[in-house]
Amino acid sequence: MKKITLFLLSAFFLSTTVFAGGYQVRLQGNKQNGMGLVGTSLNMGSSSIFYNPGALSLMKDKLHFEVGASGIMSNIDFQMEGTNSNWQPNNPVSTPFYVYGAGKINEMISVGVGVYTPYGSTAKWDEDWAGKFLIQDIALKAIFIQPTISFNFNNKFGIGAGFILATGDVEINKAINYSDNAKANLKGSTLSYGFNVGAYYQATDKLSFGIDYRSKITMKMEGGDATFTIPTALQTTIPPTNKFDAELPLPANLDFSVAYQATDKLLLAFELDWVMWGVYKNLEFTFEEKGELLNSSDPREYKDTFIPRLGAQYAVNSKLHLRAGMYYDQSPTNEDYFTPETVSLNTFAYTLGLSYSPIDMLSIDVSFLQLFGQKAEKSYVPDNFNGTYQSITYIPGLGVSFKF
């Protein structure tokens, strides 16, 4: 009994869509979205609250506001090893958004606040699909609130820091192999803290550098609600309602970036993001009741990844900017512990974008990304669950920014 129950509780928490290399898309500004998500060496107004608080004090306007959203439409196809059986999750469109506002207090100091959703998506496999004992569906909604302060020295070098208050809601369903339709539902909320610090250096009129560090945030779920839909006969063994604790690390990021104004019209930027996935070793659950039966620890053994990004912006005229970019996002997953809760494949992406300013104070920012999760055969060895995955994701985005 114990062994079986362990599997049912094994793999869950955040998803692909949320958490994977392939989906750790930082859609936190529709201008940056169009440039391969390069942002740390760019000075594009209040979205620096996310990309590089160090750049905020160097923003060109007195007041700057940005608001926008994206729609993540992910398509995954899975074929089980040795079969011609395919499954595709019906992932609903998820809509990460951002709101930033920042103002200059004086020439040296800027302050701002950002509300953004760096993690928030859903993976919804069929209730009766082949991997139902690993995961049926998973949904995470996380909102980060980040007040930020930034200083600059001599208008060239800026540093900044923000405090992150992270709220998260997670819900997971997975089937249990006792009778048809038996399942476990796990649901909980977290409140966690972190920080975001960055430095920005405008070396020359044409050349800028940025470095940014966003801390690891451990989402600790305490007293989450576990509901087991199981036959009456088993309810003395597995209580229908229970509480659980679990935690999941959102890894630290260290981003290095350089931007170069090649011509009056053309801006080029390169960025390397170090995502410290190595902290994600195990996924552990501790239950209040029947812990001896239900507690589990399942290996994930992620590894750090480095994401190279390229972005370009071309100013057609003062009203119209066109953007393009690309990046390659390695899967942080371990060969032996790839679960369908997190379909994270090596992913190549291209990005497009444009901004149009009908009047000087307003910019309409549009972006479009396409992500190609490379087809790969993957295994979750503890459950002997093997197959080939591929994913293609579309992410259109729309935002507006105001400056005064």
């Binding site: 009994m1 062994k3 079986i4 599997f7 049912l8 094994s10 398509n75 995954i76 196809d77 899975f78 074929q79 089980m80 040795g82 079969t83 011609n84 059986s85 395919n86 595709q88 009766d128 699909w129 082949a130 991997g131 139902k132 004992f133 690993l134 089937a175 192999n177 006792y178 009778s179 048809d180 199981i230 036959p231 009456t232 006969a233 088993l234 009203k319 119209l320 066109l322 497009l352 444009l354 149009y356 549009v366 479009f368 396409q370 999760g373 087809k375 055969e377 503890p382 459950d383 002997n384 669950f385 080939t388 995955y389 591929q390 994913s391 293609i392 579309y394 259109p396």
Partner: protein
């Protein structure tokens, strides 16, 4: 107006929209021909489960699963002799339910699931591909009259074959050959030892090896004569089945408060121990608080007078699932009254079973080799299940009764998920032998044991 740039972008997004498509698997029949697949065997082939051959259990027979998978590589329709009842052809269907034991304690376990049967007198008039006959031994597939209702009272016929035999005296083999099979599976031989084993070594005899070998060779020779290809499977180590491993040898539990019972039993057996000592026999009976080995009848005790042919069971012996536990709890079976031999497999009997299985499996293996047929080593697979368990798609398979996912409620026949597992092993063997690419099935698509 720069609206056209927005239009371009939207247009591009539209053009770019394509979906991922994983297609790593190309079904192929290889060098085999699955046009007409015929399955021969016993209850395992028939889809017997939970103590009965009933409609939904039959649907999940490994043979039916194979038949459906073969359809993707040119196989014809696989027809089963459908039992139109969820309760079976004969009474005995089990379900998980509650029962109250002799002590008034309610427990969860297999209980009778009775209802309207689809009797063997309701004859199946269409041609069938699944020739699995529950209870059949090797020799039975060659026996004329095995499907003749007149022979039932004589014990020479089998009601399950009576139900679908094309003519009264046709043999199972003849009926199979009448379909001109291009491919066959033959999983037979279990009952040549199982009947002996499930009756505690008293109800049935193990088939003599020569007879087994002769009949087996004749079956395969006939099946392959027309050029058909096929797959043979050997006999699992049946003593690893839940039927034999669920009831512990030391089930007689004396609570701490009942020292008087220990004393009374030891006093009662003092004479037995003294007699054994006098005869120079190693047998002693001793009770203590806590779990105690059952006292069992053993007619195999040499040099012991018949009234004294009982002893305490050893850890190497097996109690059968059919042992009435109420008799242990309330009628002093296993303590004051020796458990009848029919509920126990003694070490000698286990050795007989094991030896027979080894000999039969040698025959099956060499027949497969000599005829260049695919071969599935279920004996090795069962051994793996019993020692380490198996895991597929998050489903564990162990021999543990009910919870092990392998055995249905009768402790011997398979669950739907286990049938899918078995079908996948067949497919592996077939693909390897015939360079085919028959798709396997997802085990999780099949139901687990249903709890109330």
């Amino acid at each position: 107006m720069k609206i056209r740039y927005f239009v371009y972008l939207v247009l591009f997004a539209f053009l770019a929209s394509c979906k991922p498509e994983v297609n790593e698997f190309t079904p192929s029949k290889g060098t085999a021909d699955f046009t007409t697949y015929v399955a021969l065997g016993n209850s395992l082939t028939a889809g017997y489960a939970d103590g009965a051959l009933y409609k939904s259990g039959q649907m999940y027979s490994f043979a039916n699963i194979l038949g459906q998978q073969f359809e993707t590589v040119g196989g014809g329709k696989f027809v089963q002799p459908v039992v139109n009842s969820e309760f079976g052809v004969l009474p005995g269907k089990l379900k998980l339910g509650y029962s109250i034991d002799c002590l008034g304690v309610t427990g969860l376990g297999p209980v009778s699931d009775a209802g309207d049967l689809d009797s063997y007198t309701n004859h199946v008039d269409y041609a069938v591909n699944n020739m699995g006959v529950p209870g059949a031994k090797v020799i039975h597939l060659l026996a004329p009259g095995y499907g003749n209702i007149q022979n039932l009272p004589l014990g020479l016929a089998n009601p399950y074959f009576v139900k679908f035999a094309a003519t009264p005296d046709i043999t199972v083999l003849e009926q199979a050959l009448s379909l001109s099979p291009t491919f066959f599976s033959l999983w037979i031989g279990n009952n040549d030892v199982l009947g002996y084993a499930t009756s505690g070594g008293v109800g049935d005899a193990i088939t003599p090896v020569d007879q087994f070998g002769g009949a087996y060779a004749m079956l395969v020779q006939n099946l392959t004569q027309g050029g058909a290809k096929g797959v043979l499977a050997n006999i699992p180590s049946i003593t690893d089945a839940a039927f034999f491993t669920t009831i512990p040898y030391n089930i007689v539990a004396i609570p701490d408060t009942m020292q008087y019972a220990v004393d009374a039993l030891n006093a009662a057996y003092a004479g037995y121990n003294a007699a054994m000592e006098q005869m120079g026999k190693p047998y002693r009976i001793h009770f203590q608080l806590g779990p105690n080995p059952m006292v069992i009848q053993d007619p195999g005790m040499e040099g012991v007078p018949e009234p004294l042919m009982f002893r305490q069971m050893t850890a190497n012996e097996l109690a059968l699932l059919t042992l009435p536990q109420d008799s242990i709890k309330c009628a002093t079976w296993g303590s004051a009254i020796p458990v009848p031999n029919q509920y126990i497999l003694t070490e000698t009997e286990i050795a007989n079973v094991t030896e027979a299985i080894t000999q039969f499996n040698d025959i099956i293996k060499s027949t497969a080799t000599n005829n260049d047929l695919a071969f599935v080593d279920f004996n090795a697979i069962m051994h793996q299940v019993a020692t380490t368990g198996l895991m597929f798609e998050g489903v564990t398979f162990t021999p543990t009764f009910v919870q092990g996912n392998l055995f249905s409620l009768d402790g011997i026949h398979l669950t739907p998920q286990a049938n899918a597992l078995v079908a996948n092993y067949y497919i592996d063997a077939i693909n390897a032998k015939y360079s085919a690419n028959v798709p396997k099935v997802s085990i999780t698509s099949y139901p687990p044991i249903q709890f109330p």
